[in-house]
Symmetry: C2
Subunit: 372 residues, 2 copies
């Protein structure tokens, strides 16, 4: 397990106007490979600053820099590194081919430290990182590497997870407003497989996927393998549920379409929600959610209809129906489920929690009818 | 203009599984205030590493740390700083009240360096930063501060902007796949006002907003002030256009609703796209886009109807209709516009560029009918 320093270079990163996705990407990939990122530095396009952090980082086993390599005036990393490490470098430097851009990466061994200089354009950085840096690290630091998997859960609290799984070691909890991720490392594939079984047993349906699995990917796979189609009716989520579903390539196989019915008129006109229901229970109610889900199922001819209706805020809440009150529903032929949720957060968070909830209900619904 | 170092602390940041939004937030706010962020450091919850970067950062005028302050075992920042700077610190430290959480921030003056220790929870960090750090910095470093504004453009290239505005000084270009932002600093309000007029004159309609203005916010204001309503029909964007519109609080005043018609059947059944049109020109065509926009206008009873249809990829492209071919349309009573776009990028980027394009068409459409 090597100690790594990541150095990202660029004035635009310091001003906070370009989010440093490179450091996040590299950090995550290295952590997944079992390496320990010791520190991350971000400096501007200044030779003096680059040289200073580089010298500090030389204590690490691996240094990865991004940015400052390119055909522009900002291209100062290479020269600075050469200056900082002396002439030996020039001899020991190996170019790393860049199949998707102009500037190649550079690989240098300085004492026991492996140094990789990568371009700052994320697409180019990723290409060189995956195709050349990862194999080189595997080869040089292979004996140390751990297997790390991120397990995704939703609709369960961090403390409840801790209660259920106890102290199992090498576990990081990453709570988000839409669920809790668990990053767990093990030495061998066998140990990881055992852990996977343990988590499935303890966490049950709350565990929905691993690593790159998003909830929409998992739901898509379930719908596809069950030969089921879906239609979506949204109110407060305003299109987010469908946006997530259609981010998955191939979603047209199971997603027929849907309606965002913000106004009550549209809820009645397209989805067939009864005027009487809206009048008696209101747009934010169990009854309306169920009629919306049933309505979109009929309009689209899908096997499954699903819906959201609620109050995203920051205005529009009342004592009886506060901001964050959201009904989510799913229905198929003959079966229907509706849940009353009370979410806390800002407008976007409430939309996101609602979308996550309804996708999760679809997942459980499909699993219930199709579990072998 | 003070030189600032930002230090973010937390193991979870190094593993790349929590994106370091704090550093981005602080960097942006300080840049807006005219300060220069010299470097950003991210270290884990290790006293040795925190002390090392802190000592390095002492050359700056201002140091801001986030994380490692709290009622948990990770709460090591305070002790480490005390150790690193010696006993003087304890006497010179001022607590910064935290109205939204438990752990207060801490303010320390060490020689000419102002040090702020803030909690890692973004909501708490922001509250203390805005209410206490910003006023303190204004007071201590006031004479240096610049006015910085970010101007947002779309549908214009970086090189074309450069051609149009020439060399105007203190300008940073931030190109995204949905537009180019310009960050420009000036010494006085008067100078900024002059610049604003100059940019409006040179960039014309490509300039859509400043600072916090997103395109959906700008479109929302235009619709509201024109007393206009809108309905949206989406195909490839899959709900993203409506998700963006409904992220704006108060959007229910002008957004009635819309349809995501992924299947051809739904395009006909709800939006009234003619079978003949789909057969003759295909779903991805000018004719279908226009019929979708007109259809959703009729269904929702809105003043304006808008639509997207195209191929997001990564599959489904043909020689005649490649991935990235997108038609975007907008129509009102009697007027209709449709644009053929050819976007380059991955699935999500093509969705995002399409959504941006259609929102921009709505903006220009409303401006054309309502410009005083």
């Amino acid at each position: 397990m090597g100690e790594v320093s990541i150095i990202t270079i660029g004035d635009e990163l310091l001003s906070g106007h370009t989010v440093d996705t490179n450091a996040v990407y590299i950090g995550r990939r290295l952590a997944d490979m079992g390496h320990s990122v010791r520190s991350m530095f971000t400096v501007g396009d200044s030779a003096r600053d680059i040289a200073a952090v580089l010298k500090r980082a030389l204590k690490s086993d691996v240094i990865i820099t991004t940015g400052g390599l390119g055909p522009t005036k900002d291209d100062i990393t290479k020269q600075t590194v050469t200056d900082a490490l002396g002439t030996k470098l020039v001899r020991g430097a190996t170019p790393l081919a860049n199949p998707v851009g102009i500037a190649p990466g550079i690989f240098i061994e300085e004492g026991k430290t492996l140094i990789f200089l990568l371009p700052g354009v994320p697409r180019e950085m990723k290409s060189i990182f995956e195709n050349q840096v990862v194999p080189l690290l595997r080869q040089r630091l292979a004996s140390h590497s751990l297997i790390t998997v991120t397990f995704h859960t939703t609709d369960i609290s961090e403390s409840r997870i801790q209660e259920l799984i106890g102290e199992i070691g090498d576990t990081g909890f990453l709570p988000h407003h839409t669920g809790v991720d668990l990053r767990i490392s093990r030495k061998t594939k066998g140990e990881m497989e055992e852990l996977r079984k343990f988590l499935k047993c303890r966490l049950g349906e709350a565990l929905y996927g691993e690593d790159g699995d998003t909830l929409e990917v998992v739901v898509g796979k379930l719908l596809k393998s069950g030969h089921l189609t879906i239609g979506v009716a949204e109110s407060l989520t305003g299109g987010l549920v469908m946006h997530r579903i259609t981010n998955v390539s191939g979603s047209s196989d199971y997603f027929i379409g849907g309606v965002v019915a913000y106004s009550n008129e549209l809820k009645s006109a397209i989805l067939g929600v009864k005027g009487e229901t809206l009048k008696r229970y209101g747009a934010v109610s169990r009854q309306t959610a169920l009629e919306m889900a049933d309505g979109i199922r009929k309009v689209t001819g899908a096997d499954i209809g699903t819906s959201t209706t609620g109050i995203a805020g920051p205005t529009g809440g009342t004592k009886k129906k506060p901001i964050g009150l959201v009904y989510t529903a799913v229905c198929g032929r003959g079966r229907a489920k509706c849940k009353r949720n009370l979410f806390k957060g800002d407008r976007l968070m409430i939309k996101e929690m609602s979308a996550q909830k309804v996708l999760d209900m679809v997942r459980l619904y499909v699993r219930a009818i199709h579990t072998p």
